[in-house]
């Protein structure tokens, strides 16, 4: 969809028009660079995927072995905080390991949300090791359908 701003109209006898054009070009460039943020490995555990729907944001994370009671979520303005731990220590005595690839430890991650969300309407569920957080967008940023009436 072409998005035409008010300032995009041709401006006659505007000495700054050329600068405006350059600025728009730079905006365009930074926007297309932002698209490259997809499929980039995270450097903080846990890796997250984020999906956007017209009225909500969905964030998913794979957290195998993390119990619900060991996970804590909080939202502060436009920052979502995710904390928890995984304890994979075996209590049985006299065991010998063949392979050890699963780690134990704690994690803490904060993520800035791309849009304003309604802090009162946040839902999270942990199902088979996958965390899904649903954040409803604040009503100000939810797109609204405008009905066109004929006279």
């Amino acid at each position: 969809m072409a998005f035409i701003r008010f300032v995009d109209r041709p401006t006659f006898r505007n000495p700054w028009a050329e600068f405006e054009r350059i600025r728009q070009g730079l905006d365009e460039l930074s926007r297309s660079y932002g698209e490259k943020g997809k499929n980039q490995p995270a450097n903080v555990y846990p890796p997250l995927n984020m999906y956007e729907e017209p009225d909500r944001l969905l964030i998913t994370a794979e957290l195998p072995g993390v119990r619900v009671e060991d996970l804590s979520l909080s939202i502060d303005g436009e920052t979502l905080n995710l904390q928890g731990k995984r304890d994979n220590h075996q209590s049985e005595p006299g065991i010998s390991y063949h392979r050890r690839e699963i780690e134990s430890g704690s994690f803490s991650r904060a993520i800035g949300l791309p849009v304003k969300v309604d802090n009162e309407r946040v839902a999270a569920k942990l199902n088979n090791g996958v965390l899904t957080i649903t954040l409803m967008k604040a009503s100000a940023v939810t797109p609204r359908q405008i009905n066109v009436s004929a006279e």
């Binding site: 943020g37 997809k38 499929n39 980039q40 490995p41 995270a42 450097n43 903080v44 555990y45 846990p46 890796p47 997250l48 995927n49 984020m50 999906y51 956007e52 729907e53 017209p54 909500r56 969905l58 998913t60 794979e62 957290l63 195998p64 072995g65 993390v66 119990r67 731990k85 995984r86 304890d87 994979n88 075996q90 049985e92 006299g94 065991i95 010998s96 390991y97 063949h98 392979r99 050890r100 690839e101 699963i102 780690e103 134990s104 430890g105 704690s106 994690f107 791309p114 942990l126 088979n128 090791g129 996958v130």
Partner: protein
């Protein structure tokens, strides 16, 4: 709280034996394998699968853990992707003699725990030698 910070572990893609017609990604789940006097236990991280989607088999000392991950429901536009999802597949050769009928598996919080009970060792038979 554990002192250690969890780090991101890379998912290792694996090739199934046969090439599939669909291009599907398959990952090798991270595992812990340990042994007690009575059993061998395999723990595997398989987040996102249900017990019905897991296939476990032990044939000729090869333990196969395969799990089909259902594709995620359509959840709108992807705006951040830091991990990929896919099926799980991993095979191990089990050296110990396992009591095939007693194998048990549980799935808790996305972690599969397979217990493979060892067969009780048979008493070595002593052969007496008579002096004739």
């Amino acid at each position: 709280m554990s002192a250690q910070e969890l780090k991101i572990q890379d998912k290792k893609p694996v090739q199934p034996n046969q090439e599939s017609t669909k291009t599907e990604t398959c990952f090798a789940p991270h595992v812990d394998i340990f042994e007690t006097d009575a059993e061998v236990v395999v723990l595997a991280d398989v987040p996102g699968v249900t017990p019905e989607d897991i296939e476990l088999s032990l044939e000729e000392n090869i333990l196969t853990i395969a799990a089909q991950r259902q594709p995620p429901k359509h959840m709108g536009r992807l705006i951040l992707e830091e991990y990929e999802t896919g099926h799980y597949l991993r095979r191990f050769t089990v050296a110990e003699t396992i009591d095939q009928d007693q194998i048990a598996a549980r799935l808790v919080d996305g972690v599969l725990r397979v217990s493979l009970p060892k067969v009780a060792p048979t008493q070595p038979k002593k052969i007496e030698i008579k002096i004739g």
